[in-house]
Amino acid sequence: MNNDSLIIGGVELKSRLFTGSGKYSSNALIPKVIERSGCQVVTVAVRRVDLDSKEENMLNYIPKDCILMPNTSGARNAEEAVRIARLARAMGCGNWIKIEVISDTRYLLPDNQETLKATEILAKEGFVVLPYMCPELMTAKRMRDAGAAAVMPLGAPIGTNKGLKTKELVKILIDEIDLPIIVDAGIGKPSEAAEAMELGAAAVLVNTAIASAGDPLGMAEAFSLAVKAGRMAYLAGTVEVKNFAEASSPLTGFLNE
């Protein structure tokens, strides 16, 4: 496991569980969730960042050794996403940016085309760009070519907790794109996070499932363990699922005697 490091934007990350900071009952829960889960990357909606207010400023609740990943939630097109990203950097949020361009308020599905445009612009401006997208191979390739540091395909629509509904498409991205593939959105249970990791995802981002749990801290720890288990299983080599029973010594087993 020593060589199994996840490096994004030149930073070696100590956890493959990324968390969100929204939907909690209080900002004060955020540092506790971070501590309990051991996560290092935390995403924050720039629209909620309130530098004028000490108590309401979410940034004050994120430990200094965490990596802040501001997101452009609220952006409906590439232009708005780019403006929000620049605003985030000017606010002192660092140069990581999760591009979230959603112009569909019913399902909150990302607009791949606009997200790609924003990726191209922001990567050139020196941001560490992590685009949130609907898993689709050609777009992911273009994002890679544009300079994205990772690609974040959704598992299921935001807030639905439906799990890895896009499993087949995510697997294709993992197999074909030579960038960290981070499953973001829709993961509702630790087992689903483990499933994504067993598939070969580099990391997962979980928000709703932790924030809306009865015991967010307990759930955060459960997710942390699941992500570790899933990664270990992936490295150990998960066995291919077969549709029929197979004797452990098939027809040619006699050659080994």
Partner: protein, 367 residues
Amino acid sequence: MSFYEVIQKYDSNTIRDRIMNTKPVDVMRALEKENLTQENFMALISPAASVFLEEMARKAQQITLKHFGRAVLLYAPIYLANYCVNNCLYCGFNVYNKIERRKLTIEEVGVEAECITKNGIKHILLLTGESAKHSSVEYIKECAIEAARHFSSVSIEVYPLEVDEYKLLVENGVDGLTIYQEAYDEEVYRIMHPSGPKKDYRYRLDTPERGCVSGMRSVGIGALLGLGEWRTESFYTAMHAQYLTRKYSDVEISVSFPRMRPHAGDFDIPHPVNDREFVQIMLATRIFLKHVGITISTRENSDFRDNLVGLGITKMSAGSATEVGGYSEKRGDGQFDISDDRSVEEVRQMLYRKGFQPVFKDWQCIL
């Protein structure tokens, strides 16, 4: 194509009959589904659903938690001017009501803003009566520019404007529009608005769409509960919200349920809505429209509002004044009587106690 063409296809009597004939099994079927149809919504606002309120509340709570988490956005209204040329039978600002008419200067807007921002509020709603002379678009624009200096998000609730007028306001810092149809039933609307520009039913009905195409990030709609028969009115409101979310998927649509309150002038409320009915409307709307915002104002009292938090509310006003200049001067006639007169801090503490997070900032003008 506008919502007018859609609503024309419905017959209020047929809708009401279908709602009234709902059986308990129809309600149960609606509660089992993930994606509800119009028929399912009708079941949820039927008399038969009244005994299922607890189940509806549980479902509404789950949906709200998943899609909105525990955040509740706090905002405040600023009444810029109460001059009005309309003769809406139910409104405190009716042209024939003898109230003190006032209009804030831009400097006074700034003073009001400072009173409000002291309490932490960052989202503001600017309101005026309808008067091209006293509250022209140019005046609203200047007020919006001033408001944008103090607040991170500026919304308006003013008389219906044209697309290019909304675009002008959007260019000058406005990102949200609230416009209540008051009554979706055209006959009720006609009776309630005997004279003045507001008499034009279709123009008002098309207003949310004009807002949507003008670049407004959020558009809020609603019927004034008490004017028309509430079951059909809440049906039309829900259909309107659904239509807008489908046609303008990039705009955040929200619904409010302003309920008739006492005011200057005497007006008997034709179809009063009691608390239980109000809750039924809200829960049904939340279950039917999972991603639509739901706003509650200080027309409703504190206990009632507190109990509704978590069942669908995403936005609530706090520390409100409905008089022009009401924050700095505390005098004059408001549009309606405030029932929840708690301070912003008190509402904030209430939310924390209930396990919710008061959000003061949810947008930033990026112009």
